[in-house]
């Protein structure tokens, strides 16, 4: 079972985060200060660390991150921040963070991102073809087949599908899709992503094939082999 260290100084927020992670099936430990976080991470192996950007006392989030990386602890780190400014994000990622999430966020957003971080580099990166059920994607020619029949996709639709294929079986939120495919950083309030996904789904499921992309609690998607 994956173990996650939550570094957050505000007790109610820490409780919310650990409850969400526990419900998702992670084993969770909490640290309230930067010093404690570094000590725990040095003592035990964690699969991932959720790190608050603003911490009281001598070590703030970015300094904790630097200390961890300095000690050779290279588990994925997701930075939480109340600051959404672009340079904040850039600083966080440059300091060695792997993802950046702005408060407030929904629990699904947090767990989905941690799942993606945990499975990153699991070996499929170098593959040239992805296959999920009867759906197949050629990463070089960017062509798609469902049950050996070619599916014509627009470039964005292909990008959406490739991202979902790479994380097959994992929940991917709208925001993650937007950030990954369109490369802009903000939370679109509208259902535009849903419309794009709707078009993609219709093309994939054409001819009455069983649906492969499922909506998760109104804010995310998961791609699985059709049953």
């Amino acid at each position: 079972m994956a173990r996650v260290l939550v570094v957050e100084d505000d007790p109610p927020t820490a409780a919310e985060i650990s409850a969400a992670l526990k419900d998702h099936g992670f084993e969770v430990e909490c640290a309230a200060t930067g010093g404690e976080a570094v000590a725990r991470a040095a003592a035990t192996h964690f699969s991932a660390i959720v790190l608050d950007r603003m911490l009281p006392g001598d070590l703030d989030g970015l300094e904790v991150l630097a200390a961890l990386r300095g000690r050779g602890i290279d588990c994925p780190v997701l930075i939480l921040s109340a600051l959404s400014a672009v340079d904040e994000r850039v600083r966080g990622l440059r300091a060695g963070g792997d993802d950046y999430l702005t408060k407030p966020f929904e629990s699904l957003e947090l767990t989905a991102r941690i799942e993606v971080l945990l499975r990153r580099g699991a070996g499929e990166e170098r593959a040239t073809r992805l296959k999920v059920g009867d759906l197949e994607v050629d990463l070089i020619s960017r062509r798609v087949w469902r049950a050996a029949a070619s599916v014509e996709l627009l470039p964005r639709e292909y990008q959406l599908l490739e991202y979902l294929m790479r994380h097959a079986g994992q929940v991917i939120t709208r925001t993650m899709l937007f950030e990954h495919v369109w490369q802009y950083r903000y939370e679109p309030r509208t259902n535009v992503i849903d419309v794009h996904m709707g078009k993609l789904r219709r093309k994939l499921d054409e001819g009455g094939r069983p649906p492969m992309i499922r909506t998760v609690r109104g804010s995310g998607y998961v791609l699985r082999a059709a049953e």
């Binding site: 400014a85 340079d87 407030p104 078009k199």
Partner: protein, 463 residues
């Protein structure tokens, strides 16, 4: 401010200063006239005396005869002439005593002579007559003296008059200033105690105090408007949030009521209520997030993260992103970029995500308000040294008098009240535009409207 404080007013002090300056200038002018006048009178006396002296010198033999004739012609003794022996003894003429024992020769001098109990002033010229006598020619300068005294008196009285009138004037000016200041401070006190509709009194509108009052009044106008807006925003927030919260509460209460009535359906009822509650809460949170985002953008801290971005590429991305939504609604969404990118770079320093969101909001609005069959054009171009993006639609448009108001938080046109939306989209666009130094303009496109974001000359060279 009391009347005893008049001497401390600026206008009073200025008046006194000018009074002193004017007094000094008058004194100098007066002194000049005084010296000039008395000098002229004295020199004309001297000239006459010298002329007479020349007459006597040119005919030394006739001296005594001439003196006799002179005495006959001068019964008033205005010109006492006299001839004296070397030892000072009087020989002839109506000047009977030698004014000084050895008067200076060849230059005028003054002396006084008793006449009827008074010492009168005379100007005299002494010359040596052959063989060894002393001739003294003199002329009364009583009138000159009188004139001088008259001038001095005039100066003194004029000075007194000037002082009195000047001080009175300064006092009146000071009193006026005290009254104005009292009126102004009174008005300011009313504003300070909460009456924002109070304005400083104006006086014909030309003086310096009026200019100040005009400025303060304009500032008060702004403050009153802003206070009104803040109050309006607070009211709008309260109104916009009360509705979903009321629905949320009603839904939860309904679920409890129905579950109690039929326990068998409780699970399904609660599930539905929770789903609804999550949706409503998300909406409320969305409104708050949007407000906070606008505040964050308005704080301008994001400038630090600015990079050189191409407005055309961002606009194209927005059009591509929103295209399926427009398509679903049956609205044509087109992107135009007339010049080839290399020839006219549409770059500016900015935050790509914010610009994407802002242009996205414009396109979203356009899609929302354009009826099916309409057309939306997103156009990025450079013209007349400016780079611009516009979003034009064939919707109902925005009436001219509402074009400023729609940029305010929560403002929604009356006819769009029933459509979904927070009324915050354009406020964010305005905030992003301000942060990037972009002009935001709303024009009528007949039909529909056109929203233009534009910036000064492309500064590609600066990178």
């Amino acid at each position: 401010m009391r009347l005893s404080e008049i001497p401390r007013t600026t206008s009073f002090r200025l008046s006194v200063l000018f009074l002193a300056l004017f007094g000094c200038a008058s004194l100098a002018l007066f002194a000049f006239i005084y010296w000039q006048t008395s000098g002229y009178l004295t020199s004309s006396v001297d000239e006459r005396l010298e002329r007479d002296a020349q007459g006597y010198l040119s005919n030394p033999g006739e001296t005594i005869a001439r003196l006799r004739k002179h005495v006959e012609l001068d019964p008033q003794n205005v010109h006492p002439f006299g001839l004296f022996a070397p030892d000072g003894r009087h020989i002839a003429g109506n000047l009977t005593t030698l004014p000084r024992l050895s008067p200076p020769l060849g230059r005028p001098f003054e002396f006084r002579l008793e006449d009827g109990g008074r010492l009168l002033p005379y100007r005299a010229f002494a010359l040596r007559m052959p063989p060894d006598e002393l001739l003294v020619l003199s002329e009364s300068i009583y009138e000159t003296e009188e004139l001088r005294e008259l001038l001095r008196n005039a100066m003194a009285w004029g000075g007194v008059f000037l002082l009195v009138v000047g001080l009175a004037g300064a006092g009146i000016t000071g009193l006026g200033a005290v009254r104005r200041i009292n009126a102004v401070t009174g008005a300011i006190e009313r504003v300070v105690t909460g009456d924002l509709s109070g304005r400083l009194p104006m006086n014909r509108g030309a003086g310096d105090l009026d200019r100040l009052s005009l400025l303060v009044n304009r500032m008060l106008d702004d403050i009153e408007r802003l206070m009104g807006e803040v109050k309006g925003v607070a009211d709008d927030i309260a109104h916009d949030l009360r509705t979903p919260l009321t629905r949320l509460l009603a839904g939860l209460e309904r679920a409890r009521r129905r579950s109690e009535a039929s326990p068998a359906a409780a699970a399904a009822e609660y599930e539905r209520a929770v789903e609804e509650a999550i949706r409503e809460t998300r909406d409320v949170l969305g409104t708050f997030n949007a407000l906070l985002r606008i505040a964050e953008v308005e704080d301008s801290a994001r400038r630090a993260g600015f990079a050189r971005v191409d407005l055309g590429i961002i606009a194209a991305d927005v059009a591509e992103f929103q295209a399926p939504v427009a398509e679903e609604k049956g609205v044509a969404l087109e992107f135009e970029r007339p010049q080839p990118p290399l020839e006219a770079p549409l770059t500016l320093l900015g935050d790509p995500s914010l610009l994407f969101e802002a242009i996205g909001n414009l396109v979203e609005n356009a899609i929302k308000f354009t009826p099916s069959g309409g057309r939306i054009v997103v156009r990025a171009f450079a013209a007349k040294g400016r780079i611009a993006v516009w979003v034009s639609d064939t919707g109902p448009g925005i009436p001219e008098h509402e074009r400023d108001a729609v940029l305010r938080r929560f403002h929604r046109l009356e006819k769009s009240r029933h459509t979904p939306g927070s009324g915050l989209g354009l406020s964010l666009v305005a905030a992003v535009a301000r942060l990037h130094g972009l002009d935001l303009k709303i024009e009528g496109a007949n039909p529909g409207c056109r929203v233009i974001l534009s910036a000064g000359a492309p500064t590609a060279a600066a990178s």
